[in-house]
């Protein structure tokens, strides 16, 4: 008898955040600069 295979999209288990998310975070980290002036901190994003 013929076997019927169906694809279950919900079977994929989310184990890790996507590589794009990691890449975004790494770029964010590289571009973020904290500038201190007169005891105050300012965030500056170089992108």
């Amino acid at each position: 008898m013929e076997n019927i295979y169906t694809e279950d999209n919900n079977k994929t288990v989310l184990v890790k955040a996507k590589p794009e998310t990691i890449q975004f975070l790494l770029s964010y980290s590289k571009s973020l600069e904290i500038i201190e002036s007169n005891g105050l901190q300012f965030e500056s994003n170089l992108n």
């Binding site: 989310l14 184990v15 890790k16 996507k18 998310t21 990691i22 964010y28 973020l32 904290i34």
Partner: protein, 193 residues
């Protein structure tokens, strides 16, 4: 033999400007943190968003030099994620969205699953009683219980963080629970809502 650099060491290196250190930290805790967030929100896209926001906050805090929990990096990150999950639910709880095209009962949208004032009071009393009893426990048992129950850490992570073996951590947890039960009995406290 592979030597794994401690989280605290990676944090130090990152603060000193080594960008590879944050990559190592993110990759090391990716799976654990993703699983933790997904277990709370049950949505993949949202998990991804909260994961991203969590690490953006981590990066900002570390770069500002405002991090002071050396040695306890993962619990700190988990706490940030937990707070972001709570923020999300606070923002969206009052706006239930229905995507299903099937007919539904409009009154199911109007239900309020929050505790009523009386139950809220009882819950607060129970939380407060429990906290007092936890503080009665020996410090080592308190520490393991807090990491396991409140910070949702595995016994392997507890072992890594406290420097004791997994078996010792398991033993401390067991004694913490036994002692808590004794305290509940001794103080005739009812821990049900």
């Amino acid at each position: 033999m592979v030597v794994q650099i401690e989280d605290s060491q990676l944090v130090k290196q990152y603060i000193q400007g080594d960008e590879r250190a944050i990559e190592a930290l993110i990759n090391r805790h990716n799976s654990r943190l993703t699983g933790f967030i997904y277990s709370k929100v049950g949505d993949r896209e949202l998990t991804e968003d909260i994961f991203q926001d969590t690490f953006m906050k981590v990066i900002r805090t570390l770069k500002k030099g405002a991090y002071n929990e050396e040695g306890k990096f993962l619990p700190w990150v988990m706490r940030i994620a937990h707070n972001l999950v709570i923020d999300h639910f606070r923002k969206h709880n009052r706006m239930p969205m229905y995507n299903s095209k099937e007919s539904y009962n409009i009154f199911s949208l109007l239900g309020d699953d929050k505790l009523n004032a009386e139950k809220q009071l009882i819950k607060e009393q129970i939380d407060s009683d429990l906290l007092k009893m936890i503080k009665e426990l020996p410090e080592d048992q308190q520490e393991v219980l807090e990491m396991r129950i409140y910070k949702d850490m595995s016994f392997k992570e507890i072992s890594d963080n406290t420097g004791v073996s997994i078996n010792t951590a398991l033993g401390r947890m067991r004694y913490a629970l036994i002692n808590l039960r004794k305290l509940v009995e001794a103080n005739s406290i009812v821990l049900t809502n």
